[in-house]
Point group: C2
Chain length 490, copies 2
């Protein structure tokens, strides 16, 4: 039997690392900063992908695939973009290995040096806009609404499973539009899609907002984001949607002939979420016993564990339970009926708790006699003995209830941990408690930097629903007209 | 209106290249040898992926994800493996760019050189088996049945869209087993899955067989393959399934404790199909008017084109057709009702032919009066006027019929183009006609090489169903006990 997890209270960071490993979600690989997403972790990611992909398609987007490699010269075309990514990229310089003639084993063949180095994509704006140049001539070619699912590489120095890895999986949408208005609408629409996904699938409340200039994507005019609060009181940026203005159109000379027969640069957006969402999902709901998964993303929604002595009892249980399994599956519920005999029921209970299976049903000999079955909810860890008849509907209702309740719980936590402060002292005090801090800021990058330097807190976003309100900056006392959201962040 | 395609008879190779581009399937990118898979092409690939993924899961496999990069030393651990891949791989040597202090723009930072070079995976046996070492201790951990969908890179010198590209998309299954027998059964099972997919989804007949030692995967004990015949008489390897023996287990020291408490090396398999299947699909069925897609993989299965003058006629048609669209969609058919007014019906007809939409329905004013609708099949290009009432069932039946007929057509072609020959002269004569050549071979690699040198024909496979039959090698006259399949190949 595996030893228990570190508790969140004792060591949140250790709890997270151990949970990711013990629940078989991911592990570090032999390649620095690159993770292996294990089957159980990947099956959650697949559910996320499917849900997001459906949402992208419903909003008119199609998938495509662009090259892994970006010529060095492409990256350099948009000035702030190269500035943002040059410091952390994997560079391909050669295309062949050979046997060392001096017996040093396999070495890079110096004769196979590339004329121009290739960068493993950290993001694909440059390679995609260089294609859009050929694809777009007239307003009839617009809007162009394309997404790709891909791996990207950013040479991060300090990495953590899912949260920050050198290679990660993501989707990146890249759209082109005839007007600024339409591009901004697209940027906002995709932010809504992300918020919808976070709240309704991940059961994770998010704040929608705009990044300050300092935190903007390298090459964007405006970066929209969704920000979530983790159980340790730190914020996590869960998705971004960028209004690119005409920056990439200008860098790659992408012009179109408008309805009015005018030649103009195209307007662009890009937006992405990544396997980082896995980290957010884990930290938003899980507890000291292991994962807590929202039913909509749980690879196994219901596990049924028989408790028996001898084959005869087992067979009787199987006969009783099989129709339930069948009928739950017919209702679209993913059910595992674990009749394996190499582990005790107690071991199985702990294992499925660790893996966050939302509902566990257990049925033993006494249940068989009494016509009952035990239902355990993962979120509240409540166990209830119930009539076997009618259990199917109870399971369906409970799955919905768990989805709703864990969202409500996370929302209550965030509400409790969102502090409205008006003074520098208050700011510092509340920061130590953790959570979002709603405070006035004078709007200057300098002040923002200074606050970060002093407290490690950053402006997570200027919330979209921030009200106009006169106030004074917590640091400088200069005037401010709306509150922004500060936090320490992942 | 776009000009017509080159004909297959005039220039098969040009026909293929143009078709791939004109049908918006893929195009070359600015990065040598790397392709861009365009939305329409990608939507076919997505259908392939979905069907294959379902088949992998039904046979007990789960997906996972392993790193893009492989340390150089890993690749070197299996001797024939490195020999097979070292000559064509992308090598990452640095992890940072910087501004040239001498004003030469952005350059590779010489201070950011990796201690050990990383290879962009050409295939993942090495990085996966290095993980399996930690995942496998006992027979209880076996079998391990894992697949991954990923991009891989092989630095091919001569590339062609889909058929041979430096970067391509694929799936690679990697399994580990306690016994040799079980690993061979897995290898054979996955070959069956591939053959099933090729024949029942792609409508493409394949020969199942075993590769000769010369053509084996670098690191395998046995390579199984499916081979298809293209319309120009050349063969195409459409999928491979490798029995790896204990080669990678030995290279990465992966041992397990058996039920009998014995420590032994694990047995392995790997198997893959790639975006190359897109090339096979295109070449297997398409004609001088464009793509011919099997209904099971067509992104749009039915297109409906209204022929009208003025808005009133259009509205009447829309009112008539909408219920049909709805009810076809309810039956799971993907329908496009193209009411766009910026192109003529004739242009649309040509466009949907080019894109291989299996069924086109056209409805005009006279049809409205007569209660008819015109149905055109893409495969035979037959047009039939039909009663509008009952058209839904006709469409459903016709989709099935097209799927069956294009398979039958491809099979008839292959049968006609499979030549049984017994002499060297016959061999050469038939080779010029194109097709598979079933002939005796003495079993030596030397003879195989010699035949390739003289004729450019290779042994595609030793068919699994080859009968024991005494004969003499077409080149050497040495004795042989079964026929093998020769062809010139992609």
């Amino acid at each position: 039997m595996s030893k228990s997890l570190p508790s969140r209270a004792d060591n949140y960071s250790e709890w997270y690392n151990e949970l990711v490993k013990r629940a078989d979600l991911a592990e570090n690989s032999a390649v620095r900063g690159c993770m292996i997403i294990k089957p159980y972790g990947y099956s959650i990611w697949e559910k996320m992908q499917r849900a997001l992909d459906d949402m992208f398609k419903e909003t008119g987007h199609t998938n495509a695939y662009f090259p892994l490699f970006i010529p060095k010269s492409f990256l350099s075309k948009e000035a702030s973009h190269v500035e943002g990514f040059a410091k952390e990229c994997a560079v391909v310089t050669h295309y062949r290995l050979k046997n060392d003639p001096n017996g040093g084993g396999v070495i890079v063949d110096p004769d196979a040096k590339l004329e121009e180095e290739l960068i493993v994509r950290p993001t694909s704006e440059t390679v995609i806009w260089s294609s859009y140049k050929n694809w777009i001539q007239s307003y009839r070619d617009l809007p162009l609404l394309i997404n790709q699912w891909a791996n990207v590489v950013r040479w991060e120095m300090r990495t953590r499973l899912f949260l920050r890895t050198a290679e990660f999986l993501w989707q990146e949408g890249h759209t082109a539009h005839a007007t600024k208005k339409e591009a901004i609408e697209e940027t906002e629409q995709m932010l809504e899609v992300y918020a919808d996904f976070a709240e309704n699938f991940m059961a994770m409340p998010v704040v929608k907002g705009i990044k300050t200039a300092n935190e903007r994507f390298a090459g964007a005019d405006e970066t929209y984001c969704i920000e979530a609060l983790m159980q340790d009181g730190k914020a996590l940026q869960a998705g971004t949607s960028h209004f690119l203005g005409q920056n990439f159109a200008k860098a790659f000379d992408v012009k179109f002939l408008s309805k009015e027969n005018q030649l103009d640069y195209v307007w662009g957006t890009s937006w992405g979420v990544s396997t980082r969402l896995m980290g957010a999902l884990i930290m938003a709901h899980s507890d000291d016993q292991g994962l807590v998964l929202p039913p909509k993303l749980a690879p196994i929604q219901v596990v049924i564990v028989p408790i028996y002595k001898g084959e005869e009892q087992l067979n009787a249980i199987i006969e009783k339970v099989n129709p339930l399994v069948k009928s739950l599956r017919k209702s679209g519920v993913s059910v595992k009926f674990d009749t394996s005999d190499n582990q005790s029921p107690g071991f199985k209970f702990a294992e499925y708790e660790l893996k966050g299976v939302p509902i566990r049903l257990a049925i033993g000999n006494r249940d068989m006699e009494n016509g009952t079955i035990e239902l355990a909810r993962r979120d509240t860890r409540e166990k209830t003995s119930m009539a076997f008849d009618g259990i199917e509907q109870v399971v369906l209702d409970t799955l919905e209830d768990i989805q709703t309740k864990i969202y409500a719980k996370a929302l209550a936590f965030r509400t409790e941990k969102t502090h409205v402060v008006n003074t520098w002292d208050e700011f510092n005090a509340k920061l130590e408690e953790g959570g979002f801090i709603s405070a006035h800021w004078d709007g200057s990058s300098e002040t923002e930097e200074k606050i970060k330097e002093l407290t490690k807190a950053t402006i997570r976003c200027i919330p979209l629903d921030a009200k106009e309100e006169a106030g004074t900056c917590i640091l400088t006392g200069n005037p401010s007209n709306k509150r922004v959201l500060f936090a320490r962040a992942y």
